[in-house]
Amino acid sequence: MNWLIAQVESPEPGFWGLPHTDAPLLTQGFFWAIVGSLVGMVVVIFFLARVPSNFRRPIAVAFVFLAGMFYVLEWVLPRGKDMSGETVIPFLFGSNYEDAVPVVANLSQIIFGLLLALGILSIFRVHFGRLFRLEKDWFFSFVLLGSMAVMIVFGLMNWSLDQAVAREAITSEQASRTIAAQGFQFVFFDMLQNLDAAMFSLIAFFILSAAYRAFRIKSIEATIMMATALVVLMSFIPIFLAITNWLPADQFVGNFRVDTIGDWILDTINAPALRAIDLGLGLGILAMAIRIMLGLERGVSVD
């Protein structure tokens, strides 16, 4: 059914976009499109701000529904072939669904960019407030804002250096000797990355401590679980693997190799159990998605 011959004409350039060209953007009316979009956005926000509060929720839910439906449609719209034999998914105004995807994707990337800006604004509001009022722990706010500023400055400087190297304005050798590149090397690779690694390595201590204290055999189930865990753990350690490595893998005794037992547990016991969990999880997510799209889930949309 999904592969009906729909005989849809593949639009060129189509409803969803202009053809890709190297011509200057202004000649394509892009400048006015951007200005128009910004003005339109301001107008929409202005009117939304004046909408009575009991109407705001239905508007937000309608947007959520439409946005969610876009992704659902990919799986339910019938597929067809155009005159050239290309697979198309007929969509709005005779266009191809697949042409709409990059447009929506770009829109979504822009929204994500705005969310990042929103996050930065929130950090500024909280931490500048604490810093100016010299509230408790103001020094940490100072460190946070200072680190952020340093990282942004060196990040941007390094990015512009990369652009210069790409334009062949300077060589990468010259770029690496600049203060910008060395500063970025210091704050990003020498500091941030090592702090990142150090933070994550603390987990080893917690795992060791937790395993020692909590992994106690108090029932048959706990015994089975611990035995299984130990065998799987051993199957990832070359020294343990070497103990049974001499057993020929293609003979009956090969079944007693640590790696064979470990693989059997993972492939034969773990895989079906996880499939069952994934199925349940998938159904749960589906139900939750339907509730969110229909505005039934409180606390997610505008309440």
Binding site: A105, L208, L266
Partner: protein
């Protein structure tokens, strides 16, 4: 010493073993790991069939083929992901397979990937790999779901947002199915998006952290994954396979680097895991002995 005193001393010993101060465990762990990082033990390896499957697939590709490498790791999982990524890069460069690097999990990921690629490109055997000629950096895409969907629908249009669609690497790539593989080196659940959206356009290979292995093995068993490289052991597996294909005993490959982070991190990890096994066993033995002592008295 009387029987009662002996029993008391014995139970004190087991009690101490059962409730050992965790700082002792931490100290032992630090000593073991530090010592083995500085003095690694060269343990023999038994290569996993999952790692071998991915290696064999990539090794069998033709010169000039293009693969997409999604690098979604940062230094927080360096112990596992770095060894995997290094070995993958060595294989691709030695086989002259072109690659596009993207990232969806973390904005830091492209810079970390670039650092590794640039250092490996200078090694003997890496064919002097050049950015924008043999490989290209597409960078970070903030919305993974949309990015993957767009890549599947129109790879050129999606990569045009980063201005790399006309790179020599992209020559002949008009659809995702023109790429020979999608390799996801990841420390988060980014691979799930590909499972959902790939539409069988290209084979997927996964290099993940050990903690993610259990949830991804069903996809390998079902054939949705071409190969699965798990944790530090997976990195060591890839390095072992590189050493088998490019042995340093052969004068042609004598200057090649096959082993690096994968093997170096393997012995500290192995001994840390052994310490974990021992501590679990010790805790349980102590609990059993104390129970038995309680029943006797």
């Amino acid at each position: 010493m009387t029987n009662a005193e002996e029993t008391k001393a014995e139970s004190r010993f087991w009690l101490t073993l059962q409730a050992l101060d965790r700082r002792w465990l931490y100290l032992i762990l630090v000593l073991i790991v530090s010592w083995l990082v500085l003095q690694p033990i060269e343990a023999p390896n038994v290569v996993s069939t999952r790692s071998e499957a991915l290696y064999d697939y990539l090794s069998g590709l033709d010169e000039g083929d293009v693969v997409l490498v999604e690098s979604n790791w940062t230094n927080s999982t360096r112990g596992e992901s770095r060894g995997q990524f290094q070995a993958l890069m060595r294989l691709l460069m030695r086989k002259k397979i072109k690659f596009v690097i993207t990232a969806i999990a973390d904005p830091q990921a492209p810079n970390i990937a670039r650092e590794v690629i640039e250092s490996i490109a200078k090694e003997p055997g890496s064919n002097n790999y050049q950015e924008n000629v043999d490989w290209v950096m597409a960078g970070y895409f903030p919305n993974g779901e949309n990015h993957v969907m767009s890549m599947v629908n129109d790879v050129r249009k999606e990569l045009a947002t980063k201005g790399i669609e006309d790179s020599p690497v992209m020559e002949g790539i008009n659809d995702l199915s023109d790429m020979k593989a999608i390799i996801n080196v990841t420390a988060s659940a980014t691979i799930l998006i590909w499972y959902e959206r790939i539409r069988n356009k290209a084979p997927i290979g996964l290099m993940c952290t050990a903690v993610m292995s259990a949830e991804n093995i069903p996809y390998f068993v079902a054939g949705q994954l071409e190969g699965l490289v798990i944790g530090a052991k997976g990195g060591f597996d890839f390095e072992t396979l590189l050493a088998e294909e490019f042995p340093d005993t052969n004068p042609e490959f004598s200057e090649y680097t096959n082993f690096e982070s994968g093997r170096r991190y393997m012995s500290p990890l192995a001994f840390a895991l052994m310490l974990l096994v021992l501590s679990v066993v010790a805790g349980n033995v102590a609990m059993y002995m104390l129970r038995r002592g309680g029943e006797r008295s």
